[in-house]
């Protein structure tokens, strides 16, 4: 019997279950795009049948990291840039959990960029949502890795001399097996993409455009947006790496020109997840490791029996 009976329990789940009973300490400004991520997650989670107690949401630091205050699951609000290593270890320790990592563009593409590259490369079975508002929200509006070139802020008074980072292309090249972009203004697409991302077996990266009306006043509200999978103007195959790469390039370039393209860019259902790879070479147990500590019948091997011969 599992020690974690919330996992895979068969029951109807109501979206209100994710809403805290007490209004959290207010952090998000009115009109903030972050509310849309919350709303989309609250819709997507019941649809894939994962309850608050079988879900672990690991966040970074930023306005985005406050998602944990609004979404009532098991949560780990970690430190700036480090949600991914915490999240992927939890998934390895207990693959039964629905593990979601989330954070800002500064958090994930800047300070945590190395973890982003490697978590994608390893294809951990989890969903990573980046609240991309093209700015440092929580620290009051400094230029972020995705801020457009020329973006002025208190820390870039002459306008940023840097080209923005291209998160979708980076993700694809690093090895993510599901890459999508959606926008706060597009709730239905957001919900659908989050459902797909969470159901995907592997690293699913969702770059979520979230407007920051407080600090990024001149930035677009990400309207109108175009869904590249729906629009007749675009024709590409998201299972084809080369076509996906081209579509990403166009999307990332056109955002700076004010054209908001969104959709699923890359989907590879064949690539085994990291857990599968590790099990295949005998480096990960078949049963969730976290269960073992509750199994009274399990015989823990003594180092004495294992190693003494080597040292005698």
């Amino acid at each position: 019997m599992s020690a974690f009976s919330a996992i895979n329990e068969e029951r109807e789940i109501d979206r209100d279950e994710y809403t805290p009973g007490v209004e959290p300490q207010p952090t998000w400004c009115p009109g903030c795009g972050d509310f849309s991520v919350l709303k989309a997650l609250k819709q997507a989670l019941p649809e894939i049948g994962r309850s608050p107690e079988e879900t672990l949401l690991c966040t970074g630091i930023g306005c985005s990291g406050k998602l944990n205050s609004y979404l009532d699951t098991y949560g780990f609000h970690t430190i700036h840039g480090r949600s991914l290593p915490v999240a992927r270890a939890a998934k390895l320790a207990n693959p039964g959990l629905e593990v979601i990592a989330a954070g800002g563009d500064g958090d994930g593409y800047g300070i945590g960029g190395n973890h982003f590259i490697h978590t994608a490369r390893e294809n951990h079975d989890m969903t990573y949502i980046v609240f991309n508002n093209e700015i440092f929200g929580l620290t009051k509006g400094q230029t972020s890795p995705t801020s457009p070139k020329g973006h002025k802020s208190k820390t870039q008074p002459h306008g940023s001399a840097k080209e923005p980072l291209k998160p979708l292309s980076l993700s694809l090249n690093a090895g993510a097996s599901y890459v999508a972009r959606t926008a706060a203004v597009n709730p239905n697409q957001a919900k659908e993409i989050l459902i797909e991302a969470m159901e995907h077996d592997g690293f699913a990266h969702v770059d979520f455009l979230t407007q920051c009306p407080t600090w990024n006043k001149d930035a677009r509200q990400y309207v109108p947006y175009i869904d590249v999978n729906e629009s007749d103007d675009y024709d590409f195959d998201p299972t084809d790496r080369v076509e996906a790469a081209e579509m990403m390039r166009e999307t990332e370039e056109s955002l700076n020109e004010g054209k908001v393209l969104t959709g699923r860019y890359y989907v590879d259902e064949d690539r085994p997840s990291y857990g599968q790879e590790k099990r295949a070479i005998g480096e990960m147990p078949e049963e969730p490791l976290a269960e073992r500590y509750w199994d009274d019948d399990y015989e823990w091997e003594r180092s004495y029996d294992r190693f003494v011969g080597k040292h005698a």
Partner: protein, 631 residues
Amino acid sequence: MTDQELIWRISGGSGDGIASTSQNFAKALMRSGLNVFTHRHYPSRIRGGHTYTEIRAAADPVKSRGDGYNFLLALGDSFARNPQEEAVYGNEEIKPLSENLDELREGGVIVYDEGLLDASEIPDFEERAEENDWHVYPLDLRGLAREQGREVMRNTAGVGATCALTGMDLDHVEELMRDAMPEKILDPNLEILHIAYDQVREEHDVDAHDVSVPTGEHDEEQLLMSGSDAIAYGAIDEGCRFIAGYPMTPWTEVFTIMTQNLPELGGISEQVEDEIAAAALAVGASHAGVKAMSGSSGGGFALMSEPLGLAEMTETPVVLIEAMRAGPSTGMPTKPEQSDLEHVLYTSQGDSQRVVIAPGTVEEAYDQSRLAFRLAYEYQIPSILLYDQKLGGELMNVPKSHFDREPNPALGNTLTEDELADEPHSADGKFHRFQHDVEDGVPPRSIPGQKGGRYLATGNEHDPTGHICEDADNRIAQIDRRTQKLEAIRADLDSEPTSAFYGPDEAEYGIMTFGSQQGTVEEAVDRLNDAGHSVKSLGVSDMLPFPSDEVEAFIQSVDEVLVVEMTASGQFRGLVQKNLGQYGEKLSSLLKYNGNPFEPAEIVDGFEAVVVEGDAEAPNHQTTFVPTAGD
């Protein structure tokens, strides 16, 4: 102190198999009934560069590398780069012989491979040999091995020659070769061993010198083990089944041992992108209900500062190990030092709560690795096991029975789903994971996936459900509760003290140290008492929470205390004074920070000079004396 001992030094090039040859020879000596202790010296380089391993063997217990040595087996350095005298590091080819002469004792034996080394390149070699009564045996070890078709087996020829010259029979050596070597290379190696042995006995006067293998007997079966082995085995016996890391000398040893064994034990090892990730993974795995560890050496541990603080604040149990090497920055990667003490005590922002333990011996490394896990999980706090390249890499014999223990996979104060149902929850079902008033300050925890255990872990200050909260009263209650754990841990440790007291209770003087210098200090204490002084020692392991009462009682019981440590700034002495708030006038320091651990004679001579005679300086210029505050 031993009257009769062999200290055998095998030198050659890094990558020439010195480590495995010496390990087998040490085991052979141990199996013959002797106590053994090995000391490694190697450059931060993969191939080439002079390296040696020393094995000290005696019938009496040996606790340190000893002073100097009495038998040199100098092999060639097959990867030596520059044969020119003028190069930065001089002529490398001759170093296995030339670099090892200074510490060779009078009357010592030198065997060198004349197939590769030419003693005439060393200035005044013959004169020095004569002056010091060294007995020199140039042997063509390479040629001998080559005749059997395998030049690389010249190490074996050297061991055969050693046995012939020290009166050691070949039984144990042979037995070990049979255990360790694959069929294909076993026969030629045995052949070479015997030929070398016979040839030396036939062609040389093997009794011309006084160096021989002592005889001894163990009253119980022994194992040859290093501190790194012991730390890894302790972790495994505490049910640790998750490790994440990034390679860095010397912590890599424990990481490797764990990584090679965890898959078969149904555990998981992850080599990750950097040490920030490594520590964060350990925290994530532990949060999800697995006993987890990470570790590094100085620079890598610096990167763990933030995840360490996160573990403290979220009360996530985790064990980090820190294998010190000479710093600052990249320092001297393969050299031991104890100068990361303050680094591990104080790194990470805010008022920190953590445990820091520094084992002094291989047995303590096993016990205290287990202790670090027990404290981390029972008190939901990060534990740091602090050791160094010396303790990690030295092999010594330890009684087998010491490791005959039962595992303890318990997660500590963690609730079942049934128990969770009876705990306080908010109206919306959130579990009060961080309750204010709980025994020892340790609130019971739940694990994600458990029904009824939902909570938020956050590095922000938080209320009982884990949610971010900056209310002043809550802040005080939470920080007081977390701090209270340290008092509870201190009381817990007092019931099972880790400090090592040594020497006569009523001694006049004291020597204090921490971590890996303990054995060397104890040997010095024996010698000082034999020489008519009255000295005892204290090796402290608990760095945090500090055993103030115990240490204070020790200081009060003697006239003066010499604090011995491998740091340049006297960090341990500073810690003692910080905790006790006084005794500056009673504590002086003997420091060593040249990249090598203390030898017992340096402590003996230093003690006699600065404590007994009142000299202003230590007699050995490789050590530094810092007087008491009153001076």
